[in-house]
Amino acid sequence: MNKNHRVPSSRTLSAVEVKSKFGAEFRRFSLDRSKPGRFDEFYGLLQHVHRIPNVDLLVGYADIHGDLLPINNDDNYHKAISTAAPLLRLFLQRKEEAEYSAFGTNSLTRKKTPAALAAVLLRPDANRKKPPVIISLPKDFRPVSSIIDVDILPETHRRVRLYKHGQEKPLGFYIRDGSSVRVTPQGLEKVPGIFISRLVPGGLAESTGLLAVNDEVLEVNGIEVAGKSLDQVTDMMIANSHNLIITVKPANQRNNVVRNSNTSYYSYSAPGAVAMTPSHIIQNFRPEEVESDDDEEEDLVIETGGDMRLAPLSAAGATASYSMPSLPRYEPHLNLRHSNGAMATSSSVGSLSTNERGLERRNLEEDGTVITL
């Protein structure tokens, strides 16, 4: 095991001194500031140095303002490394015992000392009167819906994307025939339309809060529903259900997105909680996107009964990517090596972006996802 020692000051620019605390134990080691590596490698390293390989951890660090902030992805990991001056103080908690409310602005300045912080972290229920609402970390969030194309649609319309993520939760809404009034050169005209007639309690559609009863459905995945029968529209929606994009004219026009903001809004939901977080991602929807998007819906091909030598390359690839999580090899000199297995350490790889996820899967498919039976 490595013996942690103070790094000479001459190397402070290139190295980051890390002091990691888990429970009552401290570990010290250093990282190369210029080559911090990826978060999952760092995570593996932490588990390794604390000798807690199978414990799910919540990693926090004290930033320059004294706030306790989480490290859970590459971005905030790199931020933490780059801002460490030169000491990076880490606080590790078991995920199941985590105190989420500890994070945030002023979380550490209120209780100036790390000791006080540690007190909070170590005795989570010491001063607690009632447990606060647990809101999971952003990486556990998964977009269930989004409003897209705000910038190109009329303000009266709303384009909603529902993400099913292959889960079993029902989409949960009903549509019906009806008639709506359109402004035409001849004046007002009554035309047949398709409307949302019911939302299933607990369904995906209801949980987004973006669709409501009596909203008029104008388009399904870029195809206008005008002139189509109720059954046709039903079939279109079901056929697109894995990535449903519907353009509606909300019955309630008061909650419309203000256009000049030029942003899209994501609504995130985690099991048992709903939260709204503004996002900086602008997504413009184009019909051809549908085509590319649905690559995430690759059909499952199972090779069976065949002798594996027939497809040696794909077989090897498959074993690698499906092998059980293995620890990254710890390198004392901080050059963390890229390893295939690292990817699999976080078993619930958060889908930060659907496109990314799709790409990932697609790559796998093309390598030949082979499940040996």
Binding site: K164, E168, P170, L171, G172, F173, Y174, I175, R176, D177, G178, S197, R198, A205, N221, G222, I223, K228, S229, L230, D231, Q232, V233, T234, D235, M236, M237, I238, A239, N240, S241, H242, P287, E288, V290, E291, D294, E297, E298, D299, L300, V301, I302, E303, T304, G305, G306, L310, A311, E365, E366, G368
Partner: protein, 951 residues
Amino acid sequence: MKFRFRRQGNDPQREKIKQDLFAFNKTVEHGFPNQPSALAYDPKLQLMAIGTKSGAIKVYGSPGVEFTGLHKDTATVTQMHFLHGQGRILSLLDDNTLHLWEIGQREQCSSLEEVCSFTIPCRTAVCASYFSPYSATRVTVLLPKLNCDLLAVGTEGGGVHFLELPSLTLLDKSLFQDEIMQRWEALFVFSLGPVESLQEHPQHPDKILIGYSRGLVVLWDLQTRHVDNLFLGKQQLESLVWERSGNSFVSSHSDGGYMVWSVSSSTPCTNEPVSSTITYGPFPCKAVNKILWRTAESGAPLVLFSGGMPRASYGDRHCLTILQDSQHVTLDFTSRVIDFFTVHCTDAHKFDDPSALVVLLEEELVVIDLQTAGWPTIPAPYLAPLHSSAITCSYHISNVPTKLWERVVSAGQQQGSLQTHTNWPICGGKNLAPDPKQQELMLTGHEDGTVRFWDASGVSLRPLYKLSTANIFQTDCDHNDSLTQAGEEEWPPFRKVGCFDPYSDDPRLGIQKICLCKYSGKLVVAGTAGQVIVLYLSDEKSDHMIDVATVDLLQDREGFTWKGHDRLPPKSGSVVFAPGFQPVVLVQCMPPAAVTAVTLHAEWNLIAFGTSHGFGLFDYHRRSPVLARCTLHPNDSLAMEGPLSRVKSLKKSLRQSFRRIRKSRVSGKKRVQEANAHLAEQDAEVTPVQRRIEPRSADDSLSGVVRCLCFADTFLRDGTHHGPTMWAGTNSGSVYAYALDVPSQEKFSEQSVEALLGKEIQLMHRAPVVSIAVLDGRGNPLPEPYEVSRDLAKAPDMQGSHSVLIASEEQFKVFMLPKVSAKTKFKLTAHEGCRVRKVALVNFSSVASEDYSENGLVCLTNLGDIHVFSIPALRPQVRYDCIRKEDISGIASCVFTKTGQGFYLISPSEYERFSLSARVITEPLCQVRHSERGSGLDGTKITGSSVKNSR
């Protein structure tokens, strides 16, 4: 989608090619018109016309000569008459309108068009007798005079009106009952009743016989407006017919009798007929609806009448009696007699000498040869009763080799024992259509376990051969022999005629799927009780045992119990088979659910079959099962309960109703008040139809149903070695691909076939797999078995990489083989909202050049429209509306041919034939030469020379 936008309709060159390849036409209707209601015959042109309840008119002459017309209003055609020799037809509809149709000349061919129509105006003068219970202007009978210048119209009110032909203008010389009653004061009747019959005197064109419903018959002279003779019948009149000489006529009556009256100028008023007969008396009989009296050179006249059966014992039979001297036959039909006529001499001959009797029944057309002793039936070359037993499936084979064709035809000829081969008596018109380039077979499977073979090469669908599969099973309905034996002593002398038999002995016999190898003459027929029968074509009679094998498709699945029907018990011992297709092997699936897919590879001696539980592979040469695979999903309970069980739904509905009761108890009165208030608020608005948006999940019921099976010689295991494969697709979007190890021809008997599961594909959208086809390196469909080994088709490209086209109900996808990576796709449902019902790979040849052709994927959707896609690029080419989307049975029955035609049922008895190809079109092209006629409509008089009826 990006590509589609770019490509759509922009390339003029491609558009031109498309025009040369694709064109949609509904070409001809095959089979028997649904619900016929009227019949007419023109002895001069030798054309027959049939009217239907839906307002269609169909004219038939010699085989291939066909015309179809449709009235604008969907009203029953109640009567039709040809204007003798003019190629014009008068039709009377249920809505009391008269229509005149003309067979016109368009370019080289003839066609049928409506030229004018007429409604009798309800003038007060016409409605003279308003005490009458009848509508005065309701037309009951029509009589176009033989010289075609005058039409007499009899009405319910008893008046007879006259119209000028062909302009249909009312002439001011109507004859009312008052006129007759005034002149003959001997008549003390209040009303004569409706005009029941109008008949022109065969010798004097100016005299017509008018028969009134209450029994009075009047011979009326049009020229002098004078009653020549008066016949006081006492019985309710049904019909009248002249004897050829005009010296006597026959009347038929509602009491089941007929009377012969003589016409002489010495007795202008008589109430005594020459003779009066009630054939089936003395007990009360039903009315004789129509009678014909035909003189014959050979002796006694022929009397033909419909009805008149003893009310109590045979009142429910549909009969037609033929009487001549001592000969007496009562034709016993299975459906109602609509009308009948005889084909006889009409020229200046002394006798009628009828040659044939044509009877239009509700469900078929029967023609009796009256010149051959025993009056046998003549097989009709068209109007085939497709639905003699309900059609359960259809199968089309293009380009049938002559060898197979001849063997099937000869097998069929040996079947028809009670049929003569005299010429078809209705032979007007000339068929101009070129002889079909290739022979086409249409096979229909029926509810009673028969498979019928039809000649579908041309315009008229002709029966060739009938195969029955019922005789290899023990059913409790083998009483056919005893029935015919009892017929000997019976009186009336019934004779069963016609083949319409809607009653199936056992619903399990029903045919579900058919597959025929046209090169080896091997046929696979699969039915409702899981029976799969392999038949060999043989020219010799045979007496052999059938090998029976049972295949358990459930495998080792536990906890499932089949609650549906039992399997059909096969007959033990040997069975005698007539020349034709003879059963050799019977495979029975367990559980005995209906077979949902079947396919045959005669070169490999393999059949594959699937039910709602799984699929099996069977080597019929060695009589050994090769493979059985269960496709059931563990949650699929419905599949186990069989087709008739309602256990689940009952339980469900009970639960639901209990819930409803509980709910209503909770908030009693308040709810009612609320509901009432709500109702008052929007009373006009009905509850809208709602549709749930839920993606398909794996545990949908009947997910295990095998939808399609296919054999292919392709690359499944690796890209260098191809070999036999078998593919199966299910209702839940699963595809199973097996690599087969088929021994070479010589070793078939020793070595067994092995099947190894190569790939399993789960379509993520889980829609039912409708069809699977393998494409070769050039993107062409693989040829059929034997085609390559016998040099009948170009060998497939085995160099380039193959691909498999999987069509589900929602999308089409082409996967590269052997890796099964998606190459192209088209998501039909996601874009159009319609679902795929039928698909076929079709070769379209161009009209512009002989040797240019393209392969296309043809798809019929649940909305009844047809899309054509290019393969393997899957780009949409054309779209046509074909079937009404409400016509579910039409959509379900659609079959495509390999050359771009198709068939679907427009009624239980009729196929509509359509063509998607601009080149391959089968439509009637015919010509009818009629005597000259005035244009009529502009008032031109018809010149005397044009009417040569007395020639």
